[in-house]
Amino acid sequence: MKRISNKVNRTYGEGPRKARGRIVKIKSLNITSLVDILTILLVFLLKNVSIDAQRLTLPENMTLPTTIMTEELERSGMSVVLRVFPDQILVGSDNIYVGTPEEFMTDQEVRSQLLSFMNEQSRQIITQNPDLTPLLLIQADTSILCRYITDIVALGATSGFTSIYFSTIKGDDPQILYES
């Protein structure tokens, strides 16, 4: 029974030759063009990804304010990021937990720890390269009260940071400035 069916299959429509031809075609599939596209895509993505990913990353669970104006960060600067959430303050590239904004205002220990950390950071930047200037980059939620921001700015200015920047989202429509 088997032999008969095999024979039928082979003879029907000249099966074996066609099948072999197909296999050869699949084997020599040309993926060069695909590699070309992927190379271009890779170069494009590498160009757009900043090395200093920390400063450009949009923090999760934070609504940054939108602005029309934007300024360049100092080229000779090295930034330390300070993130102010409604329920916590994180500092540095490792997102070190400082405390809540309220603790920062009321607890002297929290404040002195943050001050010594920021002093250390600014000192490290200068030690690493005297030509570098330490920058403080503040990322804060829109709902944060200015009393916290005022104290953070004061702390940054006293801990050796020569420039302080507020990080926002770039908007294109000037109308957003006047919206309520």
């Binding site: 602005t67 960060l73 102010v84 980059l137 709902s143 700015v153 920047y165 926002t168």
Partner: protein, 169 residues
């Protein structure tokens, strides 16, 4: 037999031409999704604060006749919880821009009027680049940033952040 050998040679040379792209493809398959996930689609902006000491704006020479120290006029924008106030040195009455109250009781700042007032002040004082912004402790960070943004758009490129002065609270 001879034809078999030449065939093999031809196959070999053909094999040399066909580079094995599979490892490269594997690399791409890993790198591209990784880059796509870490690429930020929003465009971040930065607003700088001027930390330099304010006061005299250096010396200026008037038509070559001696040297006279010119003091930069102080312009302050105070953000209260219910209004904006612009105080210009030498001008007695500050510009007060009250916030409008909504039906639900919340306050809405009038950023349009702030923009117009700052533009008007700038046209009168084209040489002034500095503005001091003082936010009231209860003002939201979003409001502060908008005020800084409008100030910078209107030509006050040096924004100084100031605490509420004694007697202003």
């Amino acid at each position: 037999m001879a034809s078999g050998a030449s065939k093999r040679r031809i196959q070999k040379s053909a094999g040399m031409q066909d580079l094995n792209l599979i490892p490269m493809m594997n690399l791409f398959i890993i790198i591209i999704p990784l880059l796509l996930t870490i690429t930020v689609t929003v465009h971040m902006a930065f607003l700088s604060l001027d930390l330099s000491a304010s006061g005299t704006g250096g010396t200026g020479e008037a038509d070559g006749v001696g040297q006279a120290e010119t003091r930069i006029k102080e312009i302050r924008l105070i953000l209260y919880s219910d209004r904006f106030e612009i105080r210009e040195e030498g001008v007695n009455d500050p510009v007060i821009i009250p916030a409008r109250s909504r039906e639900d009781g919340s306050m809405v700042y009038d950023f349009g009027s702030l923009d117009n007032s700052l533009a008007e002040i700038k046209t009168r004082n084209t040489e002034i680049e500095e503005i001091k912004i003082t936010p009231y402790p209860d003002v939201l960070y979003g409001t502060l940033i908008r005020a800084i943004d409008i100030s910078k758009i209107r030509g006050f490129s040096e924004v100084k952040y100031e605490r509420i002065r004694v007697g202003e609270l």
